[in-house]
């Protein structure tokens, strides 16, 4: 059971993945700001704000559920 108490919560893994995806998508949205893709409503620059949203959710999860040293 000792091992199980130290299991990293699934939320931490979710946070890391969303954080990585958010950074990639936001960066691409900024770099390609003047080269809009051929999609409907591309002028809204959705990669920028959606990437920022992913970063916010990911960072929150990473912060709240990061592995900590056991107090026991």
């Amino acid at each position: 059971m000792g091992d199980k108490r130290r299991m990293i919560p699934v939320w931490f893994f979710v946070g890391v993945l969303l954080l990585i995806y958010g950074v990639l998508i936001l960066a691409d949205g900024i770099i390609e700001w003047n080269h809009l893709p051929n999609t409907v409503l591309a002028s809204l620059h959705e990669p920028v704000w959606w990437g920022a949203l992913l970063i916010a959710i990911g960072a929150l999860f990473v912060h709240l559920f990061r592995p900590r040293k056991s107090s026991q």
Partner: protein
């Protein structure tokens, strides 16, 4: 009447071309799930760990996993396509076809599953009845699960080929090997972790479609106006108005089919007795978490039409061409099932497209992981341990579970290749799966709620219900006019037939079970403690504050469900 060209504005041959960023996002996902599986291998050492994830999941993890096990990519693609074909009627499968059943599982059935400490649904039937009833349900479940896994694998590979131009063999082998490796390492831990991951990916990958779609159409009323303009005289946006007769709605179904067939039998059967989903709740850390998990799942399930049904409706309003059924496909056309990728390509550029495709791949892989982990549990505990080797060490069963995971995948791959040669098998396998669910619900619910039910009654009732369902299917297959008997109307369509067939097979199962139980000897009441209503002491929740009681949240979910029916009446 219809002014649209039937030629899509996308490149023929494939719908989406991925950029390097999109590919990077997909590759990162594969690395992440393999890494998590590798990490979790240290935690799946005993049978309890490997098969039931140590029974230590919180209500939220078990609830999201419970929901995600059913939220596979084929489910997403298929129901988005159904929404394009049938309109908002498809939402019945997410609302009335799921929510009452989830709440019923939480409040009424979960105490018996959890208190009996069973590891599976066939396991419960063995505790309640006998090896014969349990064995029948275990063997049927194992075979159907693995066949379904193979059929889904093939269907997804075909979608990947059509949407992305990927090689079918590449899709099948890469995804299967990845799933095999991480489930064999971490067992149900891996499956559940991946399902929670998939839950977030699906929402964040697909949510942009309805948001941008509603921006484009000017909101719900703008979307409805466009649909009326594109499809004059057809009603795609009301849940109940057209259900007074089989001919007044696109699905060819009557409201009795929705209420009695879908809500009372098929939905109840799937969400309360299909071990693929019930296994996730059994992994909860205590009874209250096990009861809260399906309720949490129910709230999110009610929201899923926003990312599945709404894109189908939006496609009816914004796509400048018409989609066609699978059997009417010709080069240059697109089928109903491609509606979600088409909408993804319409709104999402590089990066977001990769996220959306990753969500579909994740849904496919977690669906496969769910199938093989459920198969490994039922095979090892309910078939191998009961009929082959009863008294082995726990480590032996864990090793068997790991091998079963890999063997199950290999058999699934074999089934996928077999399906390639016989495309219509897919329809039969889907139907075969539904044959079993409705009567099984009759057997389990009688076992839980009526202590007079006997093992003989349960076995023969289950068998009679299943055979009757198969018989009705074959009758309509070879004599199509028989649909007026099975589905009560010659105007009924395939979906309506499924609902009524389920209803009749459930009634036959219940009738036979009750009849035989009344003339056979029941088990003594003392042996039924923890298994049957009236013989089980259920923990009181009276001391808990209102907001911590499952019944409070179940009532809230039910009220929300009724409000949705009223809003979209």
């Amino acid at each position: 009447m219809m002014h649209f060209a039937l030629v899509p504005a996308v490149v023929a041959g494939r719908i989406i071309s991925l950029s390097p960023l999109d590919l990077a996002i997909i590759v990162i996902y594969f690395i992440a799930v393999l890494g998590i599986g590798f990490y979790l291998r240290n935690f799946a050492k005993s049978g309890e760990d490997f098969f039931i994830a140590g029974r230590e999941m919180t209500a939220w993890v078990a609830g999201l996993s419970f929901l995600s096990a059913n939220l596979g990519s084929l489910e997403l693609l298929g129901w988005a396509g159904a929404a394009y074909q049938y309109g908002i009627l498809a939402a019945h499968w997410y609302w009335l076809g799921a929510i009452p059943a989830m709440l019923f599982l939480a409040i009424i059935m979960m105490p018996f599953y959890y208190i009996s400490k069973t590891h599976s649904v066939p396991g419960y039937l063995q505790l309640r009845f006998d090896r014969a009833t349990s064995g029948l349900s275990a063997v049927t479940f194992a075979v159907m699960t693995i066949l379904m896994s193979g059929v889904n694998m093939y269907a997804m590979a075909v979608v990947m080929k059509v949407v992305l131009g990927w090689n079918i063999h590449f899709s099948i082998w890469v995804s299967s090997l990845t799933v095999g490796v991480y489930v064999a390492m971490g067992g149900l831990f891996s499956a559940i972790f991946n399902e929670v991951l998939q839950f977030f990916l699906i929402w964040l990958g697909a949510l942009l479609i309805p948001i941008l779609g509603l921006v484009e159409t000017g909101g719900w009323s703008g979307m409805v106006a466009r649909i009326h303009k594109n499809f004059p005289g057809e009603d795609f946006t009301h849940l109940w108005r057209g259900l007074g007769h089989f001919t007044t709605n696109p699905m060819g179904i009557h409201w009795t089919g929705i209420i009695f067939g879908l809500t009372a039998v098929l939905g109840m059967g799937y969400w309360t007795t299909d071990f693929l989903v019930v296994q996730r709740v059994l992994a909860a850390k205590d009874l209250r978490s096990a009861k809260m998990a399906p309720i949490i799942g129910a709230f999110f399930k009610m929201a899923v039409p926003f990312i599945v049904i709404l894109p189908g409706l939006l496609a009816l309003s914004v796509l400048p061409y018409h989609l066609v059924p699978e059997n009417a496909m010709r080069p240059g056309l697109h089928s109903y099932n491609e509606v979600l990728p088409l909408m993804l390509a319409r709104y999402c550029g590089p990066g977001l497209l990769g996220l959306g495709i990753t969500a579909l791949v994740a849904g496919f892989m977690s669906g496969m992981a769910g199938n093989v982990s459920a198969f490994a549990t039922v095979w090892t505990y309910d078939i191998y341990r009961v009929f082959v080797r009863k008294d082995a060490e726990d480590s032996h069963y864990v090793a068997m579970g790991r091998w079963c995971t890999l063997i199950g995948l290999v058999v699934s791959i074999g089934a996928a290749y077999a399906v390639m040669g016989f495309a219509s098998i897919m329809d039969y396998v889907q139907a075969l799966f539904s044959f079993f669910i409705a009567p099984l619900f009759g057997t389990v619910i009688l076992g839980m709620l009526w202590k007079r039910t006997t093992g003989k009654g349960a076995f023969w009732g289950l068998l009679a219900g299943t055979l009757a369902s198969v018989g009705m299917f074959l009758l309509v297959k070879f004599h199509p006019q028989a649909i007026s008997i099975v589905a009560l109307s010659s105007h009924a369509k395939a979906m309506a037939e499924d609902m009524y067939r389920a209803l009749w097979s459930w009634l036959i199962c219940v009738g036979v079970t009750v009849g035989i139980s009344l003339v056979t000897k029941p088990r003594p009441a003392a042996e039924l403690a923890g298994l049957v209503y009236g013989e089980t002491e259920l923990p009181s929740e009276g001391h808990l504050p209102l907001v911590k009681r499952p019944i409070f949240w179940a009532g809230l979910a039910m009220a929300l469900l009724l409000a949705l029916q009223w809003i979209f009446w």
